[in-house]
Every structure is written in structure tokens, then in C-alpha cells.
Subunit: 247 residues, 2 copies
DNA sequence: CTACTAAGAGTCAGTGTGACTCTAACGTGA
DNA sequence: TCACGTTAGAGTCACACTGACTCTTAGTAG
């Protein structure tokens, strides 16, 4: 007899990083996947995640499972969507609250890679477990649309960066070349970026300025209940869009 | 001893309708709330919703609980966000997958209203149960931003409508007057609306044209996994953004 | 010191939008 | 029946934004 069980709650994360693509020579989007070590879908690649403990915040669970399996710490983490179709997982009903994360390119190389954790180019994925292919497609769509109206590209970069680096990020995400002069004009007008006064030396051309991200401007773009400045209670940059419930 | 229980899964919905506001004389956003008939927060107003049955799709559960409590059938239903902070509900952990819905103005008047179900103006709400005030704020923000880039305003209207009616909807949602000529130009250029050839007769002025909504155009605005045309498996207009998992 | 390359400023034309004007077409009331 | 009031709907103008492009600046590499 099949006992009626309540739906189980899982948290998964789509993690994006920029890495050089050997085939195209350009930077492209990659994401780390973990191999399933149990049924269902044993052996298939899947998004990192796990069951939600009763006493852990969902975003914290996303950050933790992501760190445990890949060793990464995201610079950006936001809830994507909750997937819970009845037939999406064999056996008991599973509801997955899915987050998406951006990690710095430099750190991506430090990520643990073994037989069970591996990076894949975002647009050349194998068949994944469950409905994870659709989840990744949706996350990709969100990233690409959001990078145009919001300013999240800096999450792929370090503390300071040149406009050329920032443009490279946009080009990689949007998969098209951007005019350097126009890109500069748009970014400077948006006020999301601040000149540090420093310049990047040692390059075989005119040395570019180094910019820093402007936190204040960024928060104005978010929803009404974006986390207040300096009150982040999570170690990471905290989720932006989502409201936060007061206890 | 408190036994460790897994988090419980609830589905709630923020329902919006346009109704005339006696105070301002204009149309404004209203939403139906239900009075809690049990602890916690007994007696407080709350969003309609309920526990998620194991064998029911989340969007179907949202539509059902909404119908059972208010008698309404939404023209638009989309997942909003999943709220699951540890302290948001006294007692056991509760994860709420929240949807938001738009209902036609005409139908809103038919909604069941009794001692335990009542309409409230969206920006003059009482203190609600749990974190439902924040949830409504977030839903309002989503509605107001989405009405500008997507074309969902028609969900408040009937099958055919005049541009003045559509403009009234936008004005009520955005809370500011819009230039009739410019509004016409923008809407016509967007292609989201089709001239039926009919005109609204009996008005004491020049009779306005009646328009119909253009489904094809609308779907292009949605995400990559928007439901295919004519394949809606739900009685309602189906959720747009969210992907759908194949079994 | 010259060539090369990328940084960064500036120009120009096409497009979208807010503010505004003007004409068309109905019902209403004298 | 005919001027009048009112809204529908077309059209105009100025300004802001953006893509394509040019030009100057400032470094390294030979």
C-alpha cells in the first residue's frame, strides 16, 4: 500500500560562472553540476541541492548545499522559482525551491572538481535528472533579461574592474558584441559604477581606469522590500528582490 | 517535547480586482481577504490559501482555494514568490508558495462577501496575519512594474474593451493619469491589441472602437517555456512566466 | 622614436515618448 | 433641427536615448 505522504521540500541552485570556452575562444557561461549518487536518476547530472532542514532559512540552505558540493561562495543569490509539478519526480512528490547564483570567475577555478562534480557550458548541457534542464533554461532566461535592466554583471567580477571587463561579461551573457563607446556611455549614465581613481598598469596599451560597484544605486532598482544597507544577516551579498518577513 | 516536524507546504494567493473607490471616486486596486477561523492569528485577516495536497498541482491548488473561499475565477494566475523564513509563522515551519491573480472587474462584484470574506483597498490594509502585509506589498510592486513592460491589464477587462477602458486600468494600477493620445499610440504600436471592427454604441460622444486581446503577441513577451498556444491544461488562462516540467 | 592597440571622448542620425493641438462623430437640449 | 458639449482619434513638435561611427590619448613593443 502506498502511504499518502506530504510533499517533500528541496532547495536547489543554478550556479553561473564565466569561463573561457575552448571551442569558441570567448568567455561563456558555465555551471557546475553534481552526479546523482542514488535513485532516482542515479548517475545523471543534476543541480546541487538538498532537503530543507526545518530550522534553516531557504537562502542559507541554498548557499550551504552549494558550498558543500562545489566549494563555491556566490556573490549573488536570488530565488528563481518554485517547481512542484506532480510528476516531476518519480515516487513521492517533491517541491523544489530553486535559487540562482553568480560566482566570481576567479573563484570558479578553485571549485572542487572530481568525478561527481563537473563544469558544463550552459548551452551544451547533457540530459539532466528530473526537470533540471527546464530549470536551467529558465534561469538562463532570467539572467539574460535581468542583466539588461538591472546591474548584476559585476557579481562575476572582483572588487574593482575595468569597463572592458564589465563589457566582456555583458557580451558573454548576451552572446553578442557591444560597442565599447556606447557601453561606456550607458554604464556611466546609470551611476551603478564608481571611478576608484586607480588605473590598471602593465597592459600594453593605454591603462584603463578601475571602477567599483555602487551599492546605493543598485538597491534602488530592487523591489520595495529589498534588504536594508548594512543589515545583511547572511554572509553573502544577500538576496535582493525578495522581501523579508519580520518575525 | 517538541517533535521535529518537516516544514509544511501552503499555497496562498494575492487576488487583485479593480473597483470604484468611494473616497477618491476613481477606480483603484482592491483585494479580497479571509478572516482566520483558527489559531494562530485567529480573527485577523489573511490571504486566501490552504495546505497543498500531494496530488494537486500548485497552480490548481491556488485556483481552487481562491474559488472555494471567494467564489472567484481569475483570468490571470502566476507564481509570485515562495516565503519560508523560519520565524514567519508561530509553531511549525510553514513554507508558502504564493501566487498572484487578476480577476475581471465585473466578476469581482459577484464574489462571495460575508463576515469572513471582505474586500479591502490595496493601499489601505489592516494588519494582516503572518507576513501577509509584506507579501501584498511585493505583489503590488510586481503588478505595477509588470503592467508597464508586459501587457496584462486586459485581464481586468472583458473579452472586448475600448482603449479608454484599458487606459483606465493602467491609470488605476499606476496611480497616475496617462495622456489618451500617447497611450493609444503606444498600445497600437505594441501590437498587443486587435481592432474588432465593432464600436461601442449608445455613448453620448463619438463611439469608440472595441478591441480584442492579441494572444500571439502576448506569449512572445513571456519566458522561454511559456505554455504553448491551445495546449492549456488548466481551465484558467494558465500561468505565463513559469516553465512547465515534462513528466 | 615609430608603430600598434586599446581607452575614452565626441558626433550624427534614427527612434521612442511626453506635451500639446486639431478634427471627427456622437448624443443632448434648446 | 441645429448649435453645443464631450470624447475618439489623428497629427505635430521637442527632447532624450541609442546605435554606428570618428577622433584623440596614452600606454607597450619593436
Amino acid at each position: 500500500m502506498t502511504e499518502i505522504q506530504p510533499p517533500a521540500l528541496a532547495v536547489s541552485t543554478v550556479i553561473f560562472a564565466l569561463r573561457p570556452d575552448l571551442e569558441s575562444g570567448f568567455m561563456t557561461l558555465w555551471l557546475p553540476l553534481v552526479r546523482r549518487t542514488r535513485e532516482p536518476h542515479l548517475g545523471l547530472w543534476a543541480l546541487p541541492g538538498g532537503w530543507l532542514p526545518s530550522d534553516e532559512e531557504m537562502s542559507a540552505a541554498a548557499a550551504r548545499t552549494l558550498r558543500e558540493t562545489t566549494g563555491l561562495t556566490p556573490k549573488y543569490l536570488e530565488q528563481l522559482y518554485t517547481f512542484g509539478d506532480v510528476g516531476r519526480s518519480p515516487g513521492n512528490r517533491v517541491i523544489s525551491v530553486v535559487y540562482w547564483a553568480l560566482v566570481q570567475s576567479g573563484e570558479a577555478d578553485l571549485a572542487a572538481v572530481d568525478d561527481n562534480v563537473q563544469w558544463f557550458p550552459a548551452d551544451r548541457l547533457p540530459a539532466l535528472a528530473f526537470d533540471h534542464n527546464q530549470i536551467v533554461d529558465y534561469a538562463l532566461w532570467r539572467l539574460r533579461t535581468k542583466v539588461e535592466y538591472s546591474r548584476i554583471a559585476h557579481a562575476f567580477l572582483g572588487e574593482t574592474f575595468t569597463l572592458a571587463q564589465l563589457r566582456d561579461v555583458h557580451e558573454a551573457v548576451l552572446r553578442r558584441a557591444l560597442d565599447p563607446a556606447n557601453f561606456r556611455r550607458t554604464i556611466e549614465a546609470s551611476g551603478t559604477v564608481v571611478d576608484t581613481g586607480l588605473r590598471l598598469a602593465g597592459v600594453p596599451h593605454r591603462p584603463p581606469r578601475l571602477y567599483r560597484y555602487n551599492d546605493l544605486q543598485a538597491l534602488a532598482e530592487q523591489g520595495p522590500l529589498a534588504p536594508a544597507l548594512g543589515l545583511n544577516d547572511t554572509p553573502l551579498q544577500s538576496t535582493p528582490h525578495p522581501p523579508r518577513s519580520t518575525t
